[in-house]
């Protein structure tokens, strides 16, 4: 592991640990309002100041990390599992299914994901409880981000099914279920892991964009995305640069995730050279 990747891994571990142990790190709750001190600048009491409702921005940042860093891997796990299942099944189920599912994939890929997200979000209740909004955001991102990865899994599974060891397995009397469990899934595991790590930073950013647009995690639950709504008062940002703290947290986390990606599969292994680029969900 290079020094840069070590630094990235340590930083990410520190942020994740702080988010998990938010109760111990923060002196105040994320929803506690101090109506006497709204829009306070940073102080010993409030390291990142307070928002317009007098809530401690540092506490919201740390608790928000918990939400943002929970949604992205969970959504990445859902979408990768869906993509692997659909891709592998398409490869195994024959030409007719292959064509049908490929057409569905093409349709999904042709339509910008954020617009599908907006449409799907509009079909669901907008005025939901904060925790239900987290579940909805996570579910939507997970269920709608599968198409790109499914192509990768379909090709990988098709090449595995055509390989010599699969021919031998079939000749030895292995049925379809056993073939999948014993041969396809274990051989797809490296691709599944890579796709999960590629998808995670994309979902971190997608959640931030969705919450910033008012269609993701709803108040008072904090997420880095909905905290960025404070930037709406952009004219005062030069005087209050601490409102950019969630953007900085996003930048650090996503950079660390990119640096930790395998060299030839990265979304943006920009500093190392090489690496394919995965389309963002914006």
């Amino acid at each position: 592991m290079t020094a840069l990747r070590m630094v990235a891994a340590s930083t990410l571990a520190l942020i994740v640990a702080a988010s998990i142990g938010a109760g111990a790190v923060c002196r105040r709750g994320y929803a506690d309002q101090d109506r006497e001190h709204p829009n306070e600048p940073p102080s010993r009491e409030h390291p990142l100041g307070t928002d317009e409702l007098g809530r401690d921005r540092f506490s919201r940042l740390v608790y928000g990390g918990r939400v943002s860093l929970l949604i992205a891997p969970a959504a990445a796990a859902i979408s990768t599992a869906l993509a692997a299942a659909i891709g592998a099944a398409t490869a195994a189920l024959g030409r007719r299914w292959h064509r049908t599912v490929s057409a569905a994939m093409d349709l999904f890929l042709a339509m910008p994901t954020i617009l599908i997200l907006l449409t799907a979000r509009a079909l669901l209740p907008l005025n939901t409880s904060p925790w239900l909004s987290i579940v909805i955001t996570c579910g939507l991102l997970g269920c709608l981000g599968w198409a790109q990865s499914a192509r990768v899994f379909r090709e990988r599974a098709a090449s595995l099914l055509a390989s010599d060891f699969m021919l031998q397995a079939r000749a030895s009397g292995s049925n379809t279920f056993r073939t999948f469990v014993a041969h396809i899934v274990p051989n797809l595991r490296p691709a599944i892991t890579a796709q999960f790590w590629i998808a995670t930073p994309l979902f971190v950013l997608a959640e931030a964009n969705l919450s910033l647009l008012g269609l993701g995690v709803s108040e008072p639950a904090p997420s880095w995305g909905n905290m960025l709504r404070e930037l709406e008062n952009y004219a005062s940002v030069p005087e209050r640069p601490w409102v950019l703290a969630p953007a900085l947290a996003l930048l650090i986390v996503v950079c660390c995730l990119h640096l930790l990606l395998p060299a030839r599969s990265g979304t943006g292994s920009a500093l190392r050279g090489g690496g394919a680029v995965c389309q963002p969900l914006h």
Partner: protein, 294 residues
């Protein structure tokens, strides 16, 4: 290498893309019609809550709506309207969707063209420098990494703080993709045997880059333009919202907040057509460039 697809004529390639777009519009149209039909509030009229109307009138209105055409007829009517340019009626704006799309699409397309154009120019130039002078690769690499790690909406806010237009936010959002793809393509081209042979013969590096590397990578770099459109168009949603730019993607966001399904499904379809047309144009240009390069 001359693959089977490369031997396709220009017109076959063109019509192939037209067929794909038409199929997507048809399938997307049916999907959109389904969403409009199952959307909350579909089939409910303002009359149901009009206190001035008698119970008998409301019941009569409900009966009339219940007797409206079935699902298949609804699909047929929807597709027929779409073929005639009738994209339905916006409930939140209380006007035809076609009118809204027609008024807002040009602004989005202009922003897209300027932003993607700037990103491609900067990305390709930075990639050229990074492959030519390896020592310079860190700077655009770091910029690409930073731009990749910031949500498009935050980029838009940063541009607003600087007093720059939203086009620049789009350019910064697309730049990392243009740069990384172009750099990978040029790096692969720079490792080709004939390029190494040219270096070995003592030809100046700048000349090798221009005459061999760029020429070899050019057809594929043209294809990056299509990808840039596919990345740039959706990135316009947060950018237009943050910059309060009255484009088509801001309309989609407003429609999502007011659950105006006719607008949402039609904007998604228009976006799909724009993205696919961008891909088709870059694919055709890329194939043509490959033929010219031999």
């Amino acid at each position: 290498m001359n693959t089977g697809r490369h031997t396709l004529g220009n017109s076959a390639l063109f019509w192939g893309h037209v067929f794909r777009i038409a199929t997507t519009v048809l399938a997307g149209g049916l999907l959109g019609a389904t969403l409009v039909r199952i959307a909350p509030g579909s089939g409910v009229s303002d009359q149901d809550w009009d206190a001035r109307l008698s119970a008998a009138t409301v019941a009569n209105s409900r009966e009339r709506r219940a007797a409206e055409p079935g699902l298949m007829r609804f699909y047929a009517e929807y597709l027929k309207g779409m073929a005639h340019g009738d994209l339905g009626w916006s409930t939140s704006f209380d006007c035809p969707v076609t009118e809204l799309v027609r008024a807002r699409l040009p602004l989005s397309m202009a922003t897209l063209a300027r932003g993607v154009g700037a990103a491609l120019a900067a990305g390709i130039a930075a990639a050229f420098l990074a492959v030519w002078r390896r020592g310079l690769a860190f700077l655009p690499g770091a910029l690409a990494m930073i731009c990749l790690s910031i949500p498009a909406a935050v980029l838009a806010f940063m541009m607003l703080v600087q007093g720059w237009p939203g086009t620049w936010a789009l350019a910064f959002a697309v730049f990392p993709h243009a740069y990384l793809y172009s750099r990978n393509l040029m790096a692969d081209a720079a490792a080709a045997p004939h390029v190494l042979a040219a270096h070995a013969r003592g030809i100046r590096p700048a000349r090798v880059m221009l005459n061999h590397v760029l020429r070899l990578a050019a057809p594929q770099i043209l294809a990056v333009a299509g990808l840039a459109v596919a990345i740039g168009f959706p990135a316009l949603v947060p950018i237009e919202v943050v910059c309060d730019s009255p484009g088509l993607l801001q309309l989609a966001w407003k429609a999502a907040l007011s659950r105006d399904m006719p607008i949402l499904v039609n904007v998604t379809l228009v976006a799909a057509v724009v993205v696919m047309a961008g891909n088709a144009a870059s694919d055709i240009a890329s194939r043509a460039a490959r033929r010219v390069a031999g």
